[in-house]
């Protein structure tokens, strides 16, 4: 029987001297079972992420429909050039991540590390740009809820002006947190990749971190036009 305790573990061989073999966790019969189980679990997690952000998008649409002029004016306070720059950075980093996963699938260690390094660089760039955007909003008192002071009267007298910035900071803050988590995960993958853990026979963690990173990109694809170019 395959679940006999005496049966030795399934080991996936390293495809070259620069790689490490992978031992399949003992509760799986095959590497394919391990791969598909982890993948299904991760897709389920990503589904909950979609619903988490979905609540924020529903709030956005609700308030936008009620107070379109507030949102138009609020969106005009954001720097759309920096927003477009960050969109481009995330799209390119999503591409480098896809190429990184591909390099892992084809056992190209140096290429994988290069692409993952570029992806991490994209994450850092995004966060730095975001920091300067937040700082500009803070300087103008364009803050969420009761922290809203609007020292320069940028929002005029539109109704519920703090509401726009509550949604802006909650949505982009939660997204920024995901970028930060994604950055840490990518660095973790680079560390393991440098040791040779990931190759054609075993690249599951690279694949899953890649999916996470693409989700971060996916959410920004909607946040950018809704917040910076308020329709």
């Amino acid at each position: 029987m395959s679940n006999d305790h005496d049966s030795h573990a399934v080991v996936l061989p390293a495809p070259g001297p620069e790689f490490l073999p992978h031992t399949v966790a003992h509760h799986f019969d095959t590497s394919e079972q391990e791969f598909q189980a982890a993948k299904l679990g991760f897709w389920l997690f990503l589904a909950t992420e979609i619903l988490l952000f979905g609540g924020l998008f529903a709030a956005y649409f609700y308030f936008h429909e009620n107070y379109p002029e507030t949102f138009k004016r609020g969106g005009a306070q954001l720097n759309w050039i920096l927003g477009a720059l960050n969109t481009t950075v995330l799209l390119i980093s999503s591409w480098t991540m896809a190429m990184g996963v591909r390099s892992a699938q084809t056992s190209q260690k140096r290429k994988m590390l290069l692409y993952l390094g570029l992806t991490a660089l994209g994450a850092v760039t995004f966060l730095v740009v975001k920091f300067f955007e937040y700082k500009a909003k803070y300087d103008h008192g364009l803050m969420p809820g009761r922290f809203f002071t609007d020292e320069h009267g940028l929002m005029g007298d539109v109704p519920f002006a703090p509401q726009f910035f509550s949604i802006y900071f909650t949505a982009t803050g939660l997204h920024g947190l995901h970028v930060l988590v994604g950055l840490c995960l990518i660095l973790w993958i680079i560390k393991g990749g440098a040791r040779g853990r990931f190759h054609a026979n075993y690249y599951l963690p690279v694949d899953l971190v890649g999916l996470y990173w693409h989700l971060v990109d996916l959410i920004w694809i909607f946040l950018f036009p809704l917040l910076y170019l308020v329709p």
Partner: protein, 142 residues
Amino acid sequence: MSAPPKAHATHGAAAAATGHDSEHPHHIASAALFLRVLIALLILTGITVGSSRIDFGGANMLISMVIACIKASLVIAIFMHVWWDTAINKIFFLGSFLFLSLLFTFTLADYATRGRDEQMHRIKAPVDKQWVHLPVTGKQEH
């Protein structure tokens, strides 16, 4: 989006679904395809920015969301490999959008059937009085 190049269909998806191929059970997309998707995503971003500068009235929201959905579909299908993924994974992930549509449908239904803007400023409970079967005290009027 054009159909994925020929080689893809035979290599991964079918083998992964049956679990027979133990050597290379998973699909590897071509680097050229990834590059084409990136270029398409960047062009679509340009179109999003461009279209936002032109006033189409109420259609602006629709246009920007349609473009965003096309971009999202490209990322999901190609970058996230969902196009070649197993049926169960597709159902799990794409199913979340079904639940998302429930959230949006009921939220918008609520919006569409509530009191309008100017009334919402004045009353605490934005429900039409004719639907409230309690004695109306008039307390909520200032």
